[in-house]
Amino acid sequence: MFALDIAAHTGPWRSRHPAEKAMLSLGLLACAVALPPWPGALFSGAAAAVLLVGPARVSPAVVLRAARVPLLFVATSTVPLLVTMHAPARLTVNAEGVVPAAQTAGRSVAALICLLLFSATTPLSDVLPRLHRLGVPPAVTEVAALTYRMLFLLVDSVRAVREAQAARLGFRTWRTAYRSLAGQAGAIFVRAFSRARRLEEGLALRGYTGSLAVQVEARRVSAPFVAATVGLLVLIVAVSVVVGSQW
């Protein structure tokens, strides 16, 4: 359904503590964003890319498919950096903009790979119940966890509704397509809230009185993994500073 979510749930890093994976991927992400793009982003992005298709064994096809939409954004929003506007409707190509545009695009692509390293290895269902340790109120993490569970049900429904509408020629013209879309939105609205109502009864039977607390399986944070992560991050920062100053 969501290729990144499936990768996260089925990959070899599935049983690692989410904090380890967050430290690694978000640490690299921070390096990619905060260090000077050349060479900091290059190193962070390259490290994330190697980890992603190497030890984390995420298929390159999944990575590329997930990267399509954000890359489209990067491509379109980099165009304005390459032109100068002197007055409305008077645009010239800006040769000096090439370097900053390349830096911005490079930083963004590097950061994107770091994000994918996180997404494709760390299931949200492992992250959400632990977020309260970072000070997020349990009510918010519980609502988020319910949203996560229910959105899969709704995505399934909306796909089935769409298929049924297509079978009855619901997308034949613009007019019918709009009517069909409204039908989809209406159907999932009704479904979402009837699901919530029924789930409430289902949970009440199991003793629900307001708290959705569950037992979160204890996972040990691996000291070698953390040490390697710290080592990698320090190395990237150090090399970036040294190489950057010599450039």
Partner: protein
């Protein structure tokens, strides 16, 4: 379009977190209180979040032949009110970043500000104004959704213009460039989202 991961310079990315934080914290407090008063709303809020996510994933046919997505924030704000939408919108944007790589974690603050704060508040204000002025439900919903959508992309353009001012004309020049790409082209989609929202509300009020 969400601002992609890493696209904003670090200081500005951090600044947008700082700007969004009070709204999200306020929304979270409202949510916590609401849930404490009435524990059942927890499941309804989960449903509302899932609905918003799926709504923003519906494919709208667009002129260019490719497909676009509604923001869903206008309809969400009218149905669930802006403070709650700031939290639900934040959750949805986090999920979009992690599940789909749409948007990002470093740009989450900026995207929350445009899509989960400004969009919903503009939509809600427009809706409330038109209703109070005696406007019909259809008109109010249409304007709320269309202007909420448009406001979101205007804010995105401002965010990008602040980050990348034009070498000759500075912020204003950059705003026109980014606005030309992200806000102007959004007008037909904003109208689409308005029409779609009207159809949805009609369907829901009849049910």
């Amino acid at each position: 379009m969400h601002i992609a991961e890493g696209y904003l310079p670090p200081v500005q990315a951090a600044a947008w977190f700082a700007v969004s934080a009070p709204f999200v914290v306020h929304g979270s407090r409202a949510l916590v209180q609401q849930v404490r008063r009435d524990p059942e709303t927890k499941l309804l809020l989960g449903a509302a979040g899932a609905f918003t996510f799926v709504l923003s994933a519906l494919k709208i046919p667009s002129v260019t032949g490719s497909c676009s997505h509604p923001t869903g924030t206008g309809l969400g704000a009218v149905l669930f009110r802006p403070p709650v939408m700031s939290v639900l919108g934040g959750i949805v944007l986090l999920f979009q970043a992690v599940l789909l790589a749409h948007g990002g974690l470093s740009t989450l603050g900026a995207n929350i500000f445009s899509m989960a704060i400004v969009g919903p508040w503009v939509a809600y204000a427009v809706y409330a104004l038109i209703r109070r002025a005696g406007g019909g439900l259809d008109v109010a919903v249409f304007a709320a959704a269309a202007l909420g959508d448009l406001a979101t992309y205007c804010v995105t353009s401002v965010q990008l213009a602040l980050a990348f001012p034009d070498p000759a004309t500075g912020f204003l020049g950059a705003l026109m460039k980014f606005g030309g790409i992200f806000a102007l082209t959004q007008i037909p989609l904003a109208i689409s989202e308005g029409l779609l929202s009207v159809l949805v509300v009609r369907l829901l009020t009849r049910v």
